[in-house]
């Protein structure tokens, strides 16, 4: 047990400390900015606001553990909404339209997975390409207009609450996070993901069906995008092609903030919940501080770079 060994272990857990520090700073700033900041109601509101992002981030977490990314979520999430509302307008019932929307998300994930895995291409670039493609399709379908839901019961998913307190979407988010954490830690599929992230060749040699696992993970990310899309569309009771700008970026920040390494092989969905929460608090504080929309991009970019740098600094060496 040398000093070096000890130092490495400390550094490994340091990254989590950075995020916790950030969260504490933000909470302090928030409570200065507004007396209602620390109330349970506000915190639950923050959770509600980020539940869409959070669900997407869960799918993204699984991908990042395997060293892959899905940048197409920015457009697939609204696209799911477009399919759902479009079918409703065409006369479909509520249930089938939502299922169709979910299926659309799954298919997008499958498409991403097939292209990236079978050609071994850079997942960033491919999913950036599919992002543009889905955007184009969405624009063609909607002609850049906003579509409104037609079935009254549709908004229950996104706006409904349990005991008038906790929103359904928050519960869905947290339950999914817990289930996924269980899958990651206890089930073979989950453990395979970590192996793939750490050493894909080793995984292949030990018999893992690498391609199949990766494609499945991409498809699952599409599924989470589908769920998120349904919730978002149901909450707003409307949908438009550009409704989720910045989601790709935000979901990656949330995952990294939570402590999952971009180099793969580590992390988990519970951590992502923390990361999502911190991001939500950051947004809330920026709004309270009157930071204009444009500057929020700068803040997010800076936070992103800082967190990524910390991730590299503490994990890679």
């Amino acid at each position: 047990m040398s000093i070096g060994h000890f130092w490495r272990r400390v550094r490994g857990s340091m990254q989590g400390q950075v995020t916790l520090l950030l969260m504490i700073l933000l909470i302090v700033a928030g409570s200065f900015l507004s007396p209602v900041f620390l109330t349970p109601r506000n915190l639950l509101n923050i959770l509600w606001a980020v539940s869409v992002l959070g669900i997407v981030a869960l799918g993204q977490t699984l991908l990042i553990i395997t060293c892959n990314f899905d940048m197409s979520v920015t457009m697939s999430v609204p696209f799911v909404g477009i399919v759902t509302v479009g079918l409703q307008i065409a006369g479909w019932e509520l249930g089938p339209s939502m299922l169709a929307g979910l299926l659309a998300g799954i298919l997008v994930g499958l498409m991403n997975g097939l292209i990236v895995v079978l050609t071994k291409a850079n997942p960033f670039l491919i999913t950036l390409g599919t992002q543009t493609l889905i955007y184009a399709v969405a624009l063609i379908l909607t002609q850049a207009k906003t579509w409104y839901g037609t079935i009254p019961g549709f908004t229950v998913l996104g706006r409904g609450q349990v005991f008038d307190l906790v929103h359904y979407s928050v519960i869905i988010f947290l339950v999914m996070a817990l289930l996924l954490e269980f899958v990651l830690r206890r089930m073979p599929y989950g453990r395979h993901l970590y192996v793939l992230g750490l050493n894909e060749e080793a995984g292949r040699l030990s018999g893992m069906l690498v391609n199949r696992i990766k494609i499945l993970t991409f498809t699952f990310c599409g599924f989470t995008a589908g769920v998120a899309g349904l919730i978002m569309t149901s909450r707003l009771n409307s949908t438009r092609a550009s409704g989720a700008m910045g989601l790709d970026f935000d979901s990656i920040i949330a995952v990294v903030l939570g402590g999952t390494s971009l180099f793969g092989g580590s992390g988990g969905t519970l951590r992502t919940v923390v990361g999502v929460l911190v991001l939500g608090i950051l947004n809330n504080v920026m709004v309270l501080a009157g930071v204009p929309y444009e500057a929020q991009w700068i803040a997010k970019g800076v936070v992103f770079l800082f967190v990524v740098w910390a991730d590299t600094f503490f994990k890679r060496h």
């Binding site: 850079n122 970026f249 929020q296 700068i298 740098w309 590299t312």
Partner: protein, 340 residues
């Protein structure tokens, strides 16, 4: 070893030929579909002008790609540069242009430092800077287009010397400069070495970090330059500039023979790639293909370019270079031929 060198040479010839075939094919296609307008002097003139802006950006991106990196911030830098060029005109055109170019250099330095000192993977680093610069651009412009005030400034972007548009002249000059730099100087050769095999380059005494750093500076500078010219052409700046640029120029460079893995690529190839994609857009415009359909077609082609390049990279070039997904895990030696 000789076999691999030959395979590498053969591959670069093949890719060069593929892009030429694609180019000729596109030109023939659109000539047949829309003879009068496509091959008219006016259209050729327009295409030549349009190609210039993107080629300048592509040249910078090419250097980064050769060095084994990638620069996603080019679009944002271009937009910010255009905004500064227009917005600061009140202080004098020269000052505005200088400020825009300086901003480009600063962003390039920042990118270079984050990648080489912060050891952050280029993709992620430039994703972050892209977002930050985008935010700065939005803040500076307050999400409004900025109109130009000085009439004579538009000559750089809109003017021509005889039949040749001025941006095209600037592009040609830069093409020659970059070609000489990459092919005939030690700086250029080392850049290829750094991208091709970082470990070997390091052992040969080449400081990979320094080259990667300068590559990013060059890339951002080129983006800023293109932004200045674009602002001159439009005599305004809008917030939508450069949103598709990064993927566009990366795909163009890849079409021309560059690779995400680094160590390959040529200025001529990059130019031909930009030309092919621009002709595609131009042809589709002339056929009055609806904008959104154009977007879809372009996206499909971009995906195909990246996918095909990757596919060949792993099946053909696998032995020539080390594969690295976002820079994370490295396949050191291929342990077996088995793939599932």
């Amino acid at each position: 070893m000789r076999q691999e060198a030959f395979a590498g040479r053969l591959w670069s010839i093949l890719t060069r030929q593929t892009i030429v075939i694609v180019l000729v094919g596109l030109t023939v296609l659109f000539s047949v579909l829309n003879f009068q307008r496509f091959l008219s002097g006016e259209n050729i003139h327009n295409v030549a002008r349009q190609v210039s802006f993107d080629t300048i950006v592509a040249l910078g991106q090419l250097v980064v790609l050769i060095a084994g990196g990638i620069d996603l911030s080019v679009g944002s830098v271009m937009a910010m540069s255009a905004a500064l060029t227009m917005g600061l005109q009140g202080y004098g055109v020269g000052t505005a242009v200088a400020a825009a170019l300086l901003m480009g250099i600063v962003v390039g330095v920042f990118n270079g430092l984050v990648v080489t000192r912060g050891k952050v993977v280029p993709f992620i680093a430039t994703l972050g800077s892209m977002t930050a610069v985008y935010g700065m651009m939005l803040t500076y412009t307050r999400q409004q287009p900025i109109p130009g005030q000085v009439e004579w400034f538009t000559v750089f972007g809109s003017g021509s010397v005889g039949p040749v548009p001025i941006p095209a002249i600037i592009m040609l000059v830069l093409l020659v400069v970059f070609h000489v730099l990459l092919t005939y100087t030690r700086f250029g050769r080392n850049m290829y070495a750094v991208g091709g095999n970082q470990e070997a380059a390091r052992l040969a005494g080449i400081q990979a970090r320094r080259y990667l750093f300068w590559a990013f500076v060059m890339s951002s500078f080129c983006s800023a330059l293109s932004g200045v010219l674009l602002a001159s052409r439009l005599n305004s700046s809008t917030i939508h500039l450069g949103q598709q640029t990064a993927l566009f120029v990366i795909a163009a460079c890849i079409m021309g023979g560059a690779s995400i893995l680094g160590g390959r690529g040529s200025t001529l190839g990059a130019f031909l790639g930009v030309l092919a994609l621009t002709i595609l857009a131009n042809g589709m415009n002339l056929l009055s293909i609806f904008t959104y359909y154009q977007m879809a077609i372009r996206a499909i082609i971009l995906i195909a370019i990246v996918a095909i390049d990757a596919f060949y990279a792993t099946t053909v070039r696998r032995r020539l270079m080390r594969a690295s997904a976002i820079g994370a895990h490295v396949e050191s030696q291929p342990l077996s031929e088995a793939q599932d």
